[in-house]
Subunit: 183 residues, 2 copies
């Protein structure tokens, strides 16, 4: 992940990762959290175990910058938070101009937008505590679609449902601003 | 689709539909538009033809209310716009309080959020002209996942990419409001 502008703060280097399955405690946490995706088609325990085989263990220390808004996400991956909290801020990454969106905890997904479209990161994500996460790369997702298309479809439906929740929340925030700014 | 509150305007009744494949002109327009989904995995012509078999032809007259914000979407379906334009407004459906989000044209997808989570419609969609659209019901999507999981996964990836674009646009709008409201 390389910054293309001198104005962007450095994103913390992607830490060394290993297959999530090599960490049984985190793997079973991921299996549990993947089953909470509330889409109309749900990942069952077998599906979740199948997904876990495509995930990498990723850890960040408190204060680490996971993604910076505007950063070109050349090595795209999404993260499923397993432990810890991350703050999400929109707009410029300068602290003065940051617009706080939310604090995400275990079970939250982040980074999926850049994974999907390869566009620059839309928000700045900072670790509020030490973070344990499961990473899914674009290549991993492509392999999952090829090798287990039905599980992949369920995972994508779950991601869509999560994104839909965020769109609803942002829409409500926007409607609120609209009302506030109206005389 | 039934309104649960007396304050909600009536949504135009879902028009009678028929299989999209019975209208060769609209079916081939849908095949063309489905291939423009810019996800990292793309629907090719065969995939798009496969999807079309699960779509219904839906028409609305100019001025029709397709969805009303807050409406319980008991019969969930998403629409792929084939011809015509639709305005999308957030917040309350009262004209005075509506916050315009955007105008959508051919190739746009709407209604997918309620399809995914069964929650009330998040926005009000009004036909700005006569509309031709392709409808996909939740049952249709479930059947597509069962019968053609790989095509379903590609379609869902495409929907995710579309939703991701909208999240980016809303985030930017929100950041703008944040800057405007700052002294």
């Amino acid at each position: 992940m390389s910054s293309t502008s001198a104005f962007l703060p450095s994103v913390s280097p992607t830490p060394r990762t290993r297959a999530l399955a090599e960490n049984p405690r985190l793997a079973s946490r991921a299996i549990e959290l993947l089953q909470t995706f509330q889409a109309f088609v749900r990942l069952d325990a077998d599906d979740a175990r199948c997904v876990v085989a495509y995930l990498r263990e990723v850890a960040y220390a408190r204060g680490a910058l996971l993604f910076a808004a505007g950063d070109q996400s050349s090595s795209s991956y999404l993260l499923l938070l397993l432990e810890g909290e991350v703050s999400v801020d929109a707009g410029s990454t300068g602290a003065r101009e940051a617009v706080p969106i939310s604090v995400l905890g275990a079970g939250s997904v982040l980074g999926e937008m850049a994974l999907l479209d390869g566009a620059p990161r839309s928000a700045t994500c900072t670790a509020l505590s030490d973070i344990q996460a499961a990473g899914l790369s674009r290549r991993g997702l492509e392999r999952l679609i090829d090798e287990h298309p039905k599980v992949a479809a369920k995972l994508l439906a779950g991601l869509l449902q999560r994104m839909s929740e965020r769109l609803r929340a942002l829409g409500e925030q926007l409607a609120l601003y609209g009302q506030v700014s109206r005389p």
